[in-house]
């Protein structure tokens, strides 16, 4: 595209035609603040915090920098007194209907609105007195609550739910001063077909939506000497946790995370990567069986509980395509409360099984039917990466100064295949590594075709005599596209991996919130995923079936993948749900 020249705060700059004022300013080293703007997802120019002065030959005027395109010879002022005054006034007006309980707000310290008020020197938070809307907190969903008293109506949650996830169970109701974000007919979120992915929480700039917090319950369990409290950590947690302590995006904190969990008092610190390997054993076996015995194809992965719930609501006719394997979180809990409890001689009733997940749908998953292999819930509490961050902070642990420690045996032993579960394509790659080995005896460890952050990936592999067509989708709007293609008979995949969150678990709804001002220019999915692929590459064992702890659990307990015992403990069932 043709280039144009603009002058930003006196500095000349050449940019491609079509560049927005925001993007041009960013490349010149001037950040324009945003609240509603999400690149390609929510470009509505509504909140007006990005107003910037531009002169296109007819004098300076204020425009919404986030969406206004540059024109040739445009002069731009991002920081003039008029700009500062306008932004400050906007903040003061937003504050006039905002519940300013910052001291007790979960987002205090990483709230985008709070930071802007500080940056723009808002002195009087009550400058505009007057009527304020009051809303009840909606805590009807299993995983989160909504407190509209803190909502600034940026609509980022609405955009991510409707556009990125293709669900749209939340939106703006009423109009003008009465506008609020809610569901149809004021249903509680728990009554809608919300899939619990938590992407809305991950993009909320303020404390209006947050996960339900179970820190208190977990600390009480740890303090109870009768209980053996074990914890598992999902692969993606180690790739995101550092951000809660100011470490750069894409820092591997596995060792410090393990050390911190031990310091918090967990009796055993285990790894969901172990049960990811276990999932592969069951899932690869299930896939081979379906192919050989004419089972329902394509088989679709069932690791992502947001995706599973989406399938139940929006594609109820395809629940037989879902792998019957429990997710790694649930396989872990089930194995811990059966195999490990027996091995250690502990009554499963006295085990408190805690998981740390990059996910909010896991909070819903632990309460699903048929997830209690030992007669008690496989997992008792599922915490997000963010909750773990708060726990560590509250305990006064200096995270950055912690030494690297190792997971406990045997449920902390894993291969590289288990680690990459946290990135889109990872489950597919891990499953194919083992399926290829099962069918041909070959050792394959790198399948670059299914890696990367694209929303939909397709590949065909020759496995022995078999031609295996696979698809990988992340983000539920992408999942819908793939499934509709299958339903229309336009695709004949045998195996599909779907993760609810774009980029997979590394970008899960339970990961630390990254300000949109950063996310608009940095791909956090790629940076976090790199942590996992680097870890995988550095591990001596990279195929699930090579995991010695997995071999032992089959030799001494399950027999073989797909055995009766394995089905009782490690597999589950699904239900058809309606759309609301």
């Amino acid at each position: 595209m043709a280039d144009i020249t603009v002058k930003i705060n006196g500095v000349e700059l050449t940019v491609p035609k079509g560049t927005t004022v925001l993007e041009a300013a960013h490349s010149a080293g001037f950040e324009i603040p945003t609240l509603c703007y999400m690149k390609e997802i929510n470009e509505i120019g509504a909140c007006r915090i990005c107003v910037t002065e531009v002169n296109e030959g007819r004098g300076f005027r204020l425009v919404a920098g986030c969406v206004y395109p540059c024109s040739d010879k445009m002069e731009i002022l991002t920081n003039s007194p008029k700009v500062i005054e306008a932004r400050k006034k906007t903040l003061e007006l937003m504050l006039s209907t905002h519940d300013k309980k910052c001291l007790s707000c979960v987002r205090s310290g990483n709230c985008e609105f709070q930071k802007l008020c500080k940056d723009y020197g808002v002195e009087d938070a009550d400058k505009y007195d007057g009527v304020r809307n009051e809303y009840c907190i909606d805590d009807s969903a299993a995983h989160m609550y909504r407190d509209n008293n803190k909502c600034i109506l940026c609509r980022r949650c609405v955009a991510v739910c409707g556009k990125t996830q293709g669900i749209g169970v939340i939106g703006a109701n009423e109009r003008g001063f009465k506008t609020y974000i809610g569901s149809a007919f004021d249903m509680g979120l728990g009554e809608t077909s919300c899939v619990s992915c938590g992407q809305c929480i991950a993009v909320c700039p303020v404390g209006a939506i947050s996960e339900k917090d179970y820190i208190k319950e977990v600390l009480a369990a740890i303090a109870d000497t009768e209980k053996t409290v074990i914890v598992q950590t999902a692969p993606a947690v180690r790739a995101g946790l550092g951000e809660a302590f100011g470490l750069p995006i894409g820092t591997n904190t596995e060792g410090k995370m393990v050390a911190a969990l031990r310091k918090l008092g967990f009796d055993k610190v285990f790894d969901t990567d172990f049960s990811a390997d276990l999932t592969i054993m069951e899932e690869a076996n299930e896939f081979v069986e379906r192919v050989q015995n004419g089972g329902v194809l394509p088989m679709i992965t069932s690791c992502s509980p947001g995706w599973v719930k989406f399938c139940e609501h929006y594609f109820p006719d395809m629940i037989d395509n879902l792998s019957t394997c429990k997710s790694p979180q649930q396989m872990f809990g089930a194995t811990a409360k059966t195999y490990w409890a027996e091995k250690m001689g502990i009554d499963p009733n006295n085990i408190v099984s805690v998981s740390i997940m990059p996910c909010t749908a896991k909070k819903f998953e632990i309460g699903r039917d048929n997830q209690s292999a030992a007669g008690v819930p496989d997992v008792d509490y599922s915490l997000t990466t963010r909750e773990l961050g708060r726990m560590i902070e509250r305990a006064g642990i200096n995270f950055a100064a912690l030494p690297d420690e190792k997971f406990d045996d045997p449920l902390g032993i894993a291969t590289g295949a288990g680690v990459i579960f946290g990135a889109t394509g990872g489950v597919m790659e891990a499953a194919l590594r083992t399926a290829i080995h099962t069918l041909t005896g070959e050792n394959v460890t790198d399948l670059p075709e299914v890696r990367g952050t694209e929303g939909i990936k397709e590949a065909t592999y020759k496995v022995g005599d078999l031609e295996v067509k696979v698809a990988v989708a992340s983000g539920l709007a992408n999942a819908r596209e793939v499934l509709e293609k299958v339903q229309r008979g336009e695709a004949d995949y045998q195996f599909i991996e779907i993760m609810a969150c774009p980029g997979g678990c590394v970008n899960g709804g339970g990961q630390p919130q990254v300000p949109m001002g950063i996310r608009n220019f940095v791909d956090i999915r790629e940076k976090r995923a790199k942590v996992l692929y680097d870890l995988d590459a550095s591990m001596p064992l990279r195929q699930s079936h090579e995991n010695p702890a997995i071999k032992e659990v089959y030799e001494t307990y399950f027999g073989k993948p797909g055995s009766h015992k394995a089905h009782e403990v490690l597999h589950t069932s699904y239900v058809k749900r309606s759309v609301n």
Binding site: I167, G171, A172, R175, Y180, A184
Partner: protein
């Protein structure tokens, strides 16, 4: 937030549904189809309860919340049916300064519904209106075609009992 589900039982007929489905089939593939579909739906049913919005959602693929958001945005759409008797209270300037706001409040209290809603028995619906050109009689309300003027809050009971 009050529940915005109508308490009046939905009495849609198969004929009405067939009519609505025909409209949807005609319009759903054109851009901006939702507004004309909603307008027609309101013509057919008189209002847009959850049952009607669900038919539209199921047959267009538009999320129910998006439809509800549009319905609650525009004043032309109603979530509630019209009652046998529609009570309109003038909240125009002259009536308002003469106390029609208090009369409106009293009616909401007496009927147990908010403005724009309909009583569960389908008898009365209540709405606010702008100047009806009878300022000399302020404050004024109408019940269907009947006009009542120079009212006080105490007149409310009498008027309701006339139609109950």
């Amino acid at each position: 937030m009050n529940s915005s589900k109508s308490t009046v039982p939905f009495k849609g007929t198969p004929e009405q549904e067939a009519q609505l489905l025909e409209i949807i089939r005609e319009k759903k593939d054109s851009q901006g189809a939702l507004m004309p579909i909603l307008q027609k739906a309101q013509e057919i049913y008189g209002y847009l309860p959850i049952e009607v919005q669900k038919i539209i959602s199921d047959n267009t693929g538009i999320p129910l919340e998006k439809i509800y958001g549009v319905v609650t945005f525009y004043a032309q759409f109603s979530l509630f049916p019209k009652g046998e008797y529609t009570i309109s209270v003038c909240l125009g300037t002259a009536c308002y300064v003469k106390g029609s706001g208090d009369i409106y409040d009293k009616l909401q209290e007496k009927l147990g519904i908010a403005g724009g809603e309909c009583t569960p028995d389908g008898k009365f619906s209540l709405e606010a209106c702008r100047c009806i050109g009878a300022c000399g009689l302020a404050p004024v309300l109408t019940v269907n075609e009947d006009v009542y003027g120079r009212l006080t809050v105490d007149d409310v009971d009498k008027i309701i009992s006339k139609y109950a």
